[in-house]
Symmetry: C2
Subunit: 159 residues, 2 copies
């Protein structure tokens, strides 16, 4: 019941499904200046930190043609996050909110998406700016950022 | 060798790792007007189509507080895509490009991210606009869209 003990008043835990429906490969690691979750910036907007992506050699050819993009999406696995809370009380918010209304690492599938600035590509190493994750985070995908499909500067959010 | 036969000149296939590193739960399904991949729009920017997200009842509380957002990220699993090409020749491009420089469904982890407009929430059903995926696509996450971290209208891409 160690997990139960970690729940804040107002949070809601569920029983997760008995088995997985699909499997992920970790394709590399993200190296950052942040050695623990408590050191991480709140989000990429508050970070100018430089990180490096170490892609596994197996996938090296996948980086061809990535260089000309100014921004990339990193898709990564938040391996330290629990998966069983559907309602959470983030410390910065102080009140409950549904998991799908939050970018919290805690979610049924702890996948993060982070838009970063591409600084450079050298072999299987990418250097990026605006990184906010903990050092050693497993990488699961890299995608080019397309302003045409991804940029909504006027998107609204509650206060 | 059926997969080998499906490779275009210039494409590069790799041997994938022998085992998975993490497991995903499918948390719902995306219902769209597109019954096959050939019917799908090229991307969300070219779609005004309405789709519905059927979230599994188990995760219902996770949708609390989602209503006020104008845009959401859908994270979904492109279950029809092969995973072993690191260099591809997209039909619309006609020349090879590295997988991580493409938004193609074919990638080591066939996860898509799609920014959609939220039309409404009713129980465990979300209605969204600008959907481009095939009917029945498995959902793996929903995230709020934050202009502060996600919107880069001046992001550059190669021609």
């Amino acid at each position: 019941m160690a997990e139960e003990a970690g729940i804040r008043p107002g949070e809601l835990r569920i029983d997760l499904p008995a088995s997985f429906d699909a499997g992920l490969y970790f394709i590399g690691r993200i190296r950052t200046p942040f050695k623990s979750r408590s050191e991480c910036p709140k989000n990429t907007a508050e970070s100018e930190a430089i990180g490096t992506i170490e892609l596994d050699q197996r996938f090296a050819a996948g980086l061809e043609d990535v260089g000309p993009y100014s921004h990339l999406w990193l898709v990564y696995w938040m391996h330290q996050a629990r998966r069983d809370l559907v309602r959470q009380v983030p410390a910065h918010l102080g009140r409950p909110r549904g998991t799908f209304a939050l970018r919290s690492p805690v979610r049924p599938n702890p996948i993060a998406i982070a838009a970063v600035e591409l600084v450079g590509v050298a072999g299987t190493i990418l250097t990026v700016r605006k990184i906010d994750c903990v050092d050693g985070t497993p990488l699961i995908d890299i995608k080019p950022y397309f302003a045409s499909t991804d940029s909504f500067p006027n998107a609204k959010r509650p206060g």
